[in-house]
């Protein structure tokens, strides 16, 4: 059993209105970052988990995302990294 640090990106699903992202994009435009085409704001969750190996750690975190961390109706998630902690 080892300890892993698993990072997950959770973001509003494509095609679903993200007013936070829109507001941030407008603010960036007003700061003359005219090149910004789109902004989406999500959550970044870092978990410390005990598991046999990194694949097992990632699998458990996916189950956590399906049950609690993300809402499958409106959000997508992606495991960003799994590192030995």
């Amino acid at each position: 059993m080892s300890r892993f640090r698993v990072s997950v990106n959770i973001s509003p699903r494509q095609g679903i209105l993200d007013p936070q992202g829109k507001a941030v994009a407008e603010a960036l435009h007003s700061l003359d970052f005219a090149e910004v085409r789109d902004v989406r704001v999500g959550r970044f969750v870092v978990l410390e988990v005990d598991a046999g190996d990194d694949a097992a750690a990632a699998q458990r975190v996916r189950e956590m995302c399906d049950k609690l961390l993300a809402n499958p109706v409106v959000e997508d998630y992606r495991i960003a990294s799994v590192e030995v902690s």
Binding site: P12, L17, P19, Q20, R43, L68, V73, V74
Partner: protein, 230 residues
């Protein structure tokens, strides 16, 4: 006729719901603590408004795993009536009692104001005291009330008459300006396919006392009373 009102950490409309049920409706009500496993024989469960668990993660996401929710879900699966108001609507969606999700208001601002609602289906256990097309005036107070679901779900809600209330203007017309949060199809309240779970973002329990203004919310409680007593 006994109502059970769930108190989660962060619920703040449980007392209003209790007042509506006991003082305005004249029925019995008990508070159900979130850690309890006992519904105490209630006929109707109310999931009240508030900010359960500080809205951490997502509104309602953590409350749905409270011990009492296991009993509430079992009650609903047996056909028992459940009404989720505001945060209670969010919890009911997270718990899978209702389809879809309530997302951040399109305008990003918390909205606290009176709105007009049109009764879209008066043939439910929550709306039988209204007539279809009735326009009600109820308060809203939420930051995450934008009803969102996939196209298939929206089509099913519309096709099966599961949209109970819609945001409208005072004349009863669906216009973007009357939609306080950008909800799809101006949806303010829905019932489950089986008809025994209502989710509603506006606050009927805050519109039951003539001392405080319109009493248009009382009909929802009277409808449930009429249904359960029948």
């Amino acid at each position: 006729m006994k109502f059970g009102i769930v108190t989660f950490p962060g619920s703040n409309c449980d007392y209003d719901a209790h007042h509506a049920v006991t003082d305005a409706l004249g029925a019995e009500a008990v508070y159900l603590w979130h850690k309890s496993h006992d519904l105490e024989g209630v006929d109707v469960v109310i999931l009240p408004g508030g900010f359960s668990y500080g809205d951490y993660l997502r509104a309602g996401a953590i409350a749905r795993f409270s011990p009492i929710m296991r009993e509430v879900v079992a009650h609903a699966r047996r056909g028992g009536p459940v009404i989720g108001i505001c945060n209670g609507f969010q919890i009911a969606c997270e718990a899978g009692l209702l389809p879809g999700a309530l997302m951040r208001n399109a305008g990003l601002q918390f909205v606290s104001q009176p709105v007009h609602l049109r009764v879209e289906n008066a043939d439910t256990m929550f709306t039988n005291r209204y007539a279809e097309g009735d326009v009600l005036r109820l308060p809203v107070a939420h930051g995450e009330g934008r009803y969102t679901a996939d196209g298939e779900t929206i089509a099913r809600l519309e096709g099966e008459g599961l949209v109970a209330f819609r945001y409208v203007n005072a004349a009863g017309e669906i216009v973007p300006a009357a939609n306080p949060n950008g909800s799809m199809n101006s949806i303010a309240g829905i019932v489950s396919a089986e008809g025994n779970v209502l989710g509603i973002m506006p606050h009927p329990e805050r519109a039951v006392d003539p001392l405080l203004g319109p009493v248009d919310g009382l009909g929802i409680f009277q409808s449930m009373m009429a249904h359960v007593s029948a």
